[in-house]
Symmetry: C2
Subunit: 466 residues, 2 copies
């Protein structure tokens, strides 16, 4: 073996044996190979037997043929096995190649009577209750791979555009949006020391600490030195509301960039990054969409030459008022858009993604950059069909006097935000950014009704398994 | 403009203007361009002036020449600017090209008197106190970019080897290693409801919840369906110890794979993944190493054809006992290796990375796979010079009777781990995995003494800024 062959084998970990993806992609035929996986289905006939073998590396799995059907009698759904056999061209439809099995080794048996993941359709609720097993279903396997594919696509996009991937803190002393929706860490309980003295409860960090609700303020620290940064970070909201779009623990993509001076430019970045993802080829995505019998995203939305609709909040309110649609909440300038309004704008007005920009200053957080009209701020929400709000972003107020006035006006603790205003005093650059709920993106791409099915182990009010 | 040009411009966000990296990489000369950044240094001469412009996208920045030195008089260190000028071949040493400035626009002034980040060397402690500004130093900028480069390298390695990148929960009901080092979430405080009734303090999830100390158990859920998974996840330890290798919040790479049946194979995966990172070209890494005047990693360690040393714990204890070295703690079979022992094994015995395998069952967690000798478990630690323990991993006990016995023996709550033992009962495959502290990896690669300098906003006992 030459050195370069050795390098290859070390790097591709061939000593572990091939995955099903590798086996299906390899060129060799009729060689005896070993392959590992879990049995997904078995078809016993008189003179032949078939089984589907999955290892999660591909959506489709490997068809295995047993020329001696008694060999297959030891198999049960869910069992993990090591098979030896020859990879040969498949005469049947649905696959190019199949494994003609020679030897079967059961690595982990699976009792078909008690196995909770039966072949027949299982309800969403049942699968949520079996959180440790539901990833074994085709749908959840596809979601897991789709998340991976989408992340790689995003990494590519941001890297090509000179964004640095960064990690921002999870435990923080500040409570970004202030609405009492943060999880707080418990103080370290009192205990007996070696000397028999009982200590007081103490804050581990000597001050109250919370789980982050957004990485934005921390990203601004970094984007004021490294001009373009992004992260995909866990975020936490202690909200009691139970909707199909909210989780207590979720992943949020946030990007922040210096030297951006208009909301339009910021929308361009968000639009380009999402179109990049929409253009990716993913068999898993195709399968998930086939599962619902429709696609929630259109090919048109992915096309670069067709810009997504953009409308100001003020114009959006007017369109809503003139729509003739019946809303539970009357659209009124100065009030937040309700979900029903957002849905109408994306589904019925734009028939696709739509940016709504320049909301009233009174309904937005202190850090958004004030427009010259004094009434609105330079921000946007991206609304998409089926899901509603997918992205929210803004230019950040980089003028320290205006920022300090906004902090005061909203009754926030000026001392707590001193470091944040200092960013502006020492070479603060015009900048902006946005955040996108990753599970909402997966929901939209995959046509998955509820974000609880878009993350392997969802957490919401009253519910945390594993 | 053709459609394909439009596609390119949309995708590369050229409307934002080029970053310094793009400007330096572009082929055009003498065209008038705009470029943004922060001033890092200024040299005023009688007939000419120079400045260095940084935007964090490259370690080196862009040299700017002012043919009219009065133009440069408005500049101060730290100010953010927009410069217009022509990119021309540089006659001076140190750069191929430079910007000959035509116009200067100050975007954010920076008062040189009060700016905390002065040109002279600042102590590590001073910079830690200025957490919101320290990323503006060359060293912290390099660390941020190195983290990004290393992450991309790891993504490439794992993707090529069919590992799926996954997200595991941060909030969890279990306390993996059980040593009381978990952060606990505070119950939601009592409050007045709309009806004037005061509610009780309640657990948001209806049970005690903690921050994860390791993703391993959750990864095992996934790797029992998708055979190879990995994550880079925040982990939390409420440890009071203050060493150069510990943080209360840190990032851990964890990989888990099914169908691996020997510790040697597992070591191969860890070794291949780290060697892949060691081979990457990084100017930032070179600069960090130049800063300490040495490299903590050797070219030999990166070479594929030289396997890293491997030794069993039992043999390691013997070597330590026969070493003639003076240790504070006597090396004794059955006791954990102390830091001084680990350092001796990597620095003086192996002169490089070394795997220590098969530790006594009595000093390891319940989930590690028992060896046939009944006394040791199939695990490894990877020790590297300067840093000590970089990686820890093991085969996991997949035999449910042995696993249940271990849970009982260690006095753990059998009911709490029922889902974990069930993974074995339904098609459980032989599997294993490992975890690597990401900040320790950065420390080793960059030759950075303390992990507090390897993460932008470090947290440790008593300390959390921002």
């Amino acid at each position: 073996m030459s050195v370069s062959q050795k390098l290859l084998s070390r790097r591709n970990l061939t000593q572990l044996g091939g995955t099903i993806r590798q086996v299906l992609a390899s060129k060799s035929n009729d060689e005896s190979i070993h392959v590992h996986g879990w049995i997904k289905s078995i078809r016993l006939q008189k003179r032949i037997a078939f089984a589907m073998l999955h290892d999660g590396t591909t959506p489709k799995g490997l068809q295995v043929v047993f020329r001696n059907p008694t060999q297959a009698k030891v198999l049960t759904n869910g069992a993990s096995v090591r098979l030896t056999g020859a990879l040969t061209p498949s005469p049947g439809p649905g696959q190019h190649r199949e494994l003609v099995a020679e030897a079967v080794e059961i690595l982990g048996a699976c009792d078909p009577e008690s196995y909770p993941i039966q072949k027949q359709a299982l309800t969403t609720e049942y699968l949520r209750d079996h959180a440790h097993l539901r990833v074994r279903t085709d749908v959840q396997g596809a979601v897991l791979r789709l998340r991976d594919t989408v992340m790689r696509s995003l990494h590519d996009f941001f890297h090509e555009n000179d964004f640095i991937y960064v990690h921002t803190p999870i435990i923080t002393s500040n409570d970004t949006e202030g609405a009492g929706e943060s999880f707080r860490l418990a103080p370290i309980p009192s205990r007996c020391t070696d000397r028999g003295v009982t200590t007081q409860d103490t804050e581990f960090f000597n001050k109250p600490s919370y789980l982050t609700v957004s990485s934005q303020l921390h990203l601004e620290v970094l984007s004021n030195a490294v001009a373009r940064v992004w992260t995909l970070s866990p975020c936490f909201r202690a909200e009691r509301s139970q909707t199909s779009r909210h989780l207590a623990e979720f992943w949020m993509l946030e990007a922040e960039l210096s030297f951006v001076r208009s909301v339009d430019d910021l929308c361009d970045v968000a639009e380009a990054s999402i179109k990049h993802v929409l253009r990716l080829q993913s068999l898993d995505r195709d399968l998930l969409q086939a599962d619902i019998g429709a696609s929630w995203t259109s090919t048109a939305a992915a096309a670069s030459e067709v810009p997504w609709a953009r409308i100001t909040y003020t114009d959006a309110i007017r369109e809503l008022q003139n729509s003739g649609a019946r809303f539970e909440f009357t659209p009124l300038w100065g009030s937040p858009l309700q979900s029903e309004h957002e849905r109408w704008l994306a589904d019925s007005f734009a028939h696709g993604p739509i940016f709504v920009t320049d909301y009233p200053v009174t309904i937005k957080p202190f850090y958004m950059r004030q427009n010259d009209d004094g009434k609105t701020v330079a921000c946007f929400d991206l609304l998409v069909p089926h899901v509603g709000e997918l992205v929210g972003g803004s230019l950040r107020e980089e003028r320290s006097t205006l920022l300090e006035a906004a902090i005061k006006r909203q009754g926030l603790d000026e001392e707590a935000y001193r470091w944040y205003t200092e960013l502006r005093k020492f070479g603060g650059a015009p900048h902006g950014g946005y955040g996108m709920g990753f599970e909402r993106l997966i929901s939209w791409l995959g046509g998955i009704e509820n974000v609880r099915e878009c993350i392997p182990m969802p957490r919401w009010s009253g519910r945390m398994l594993l």
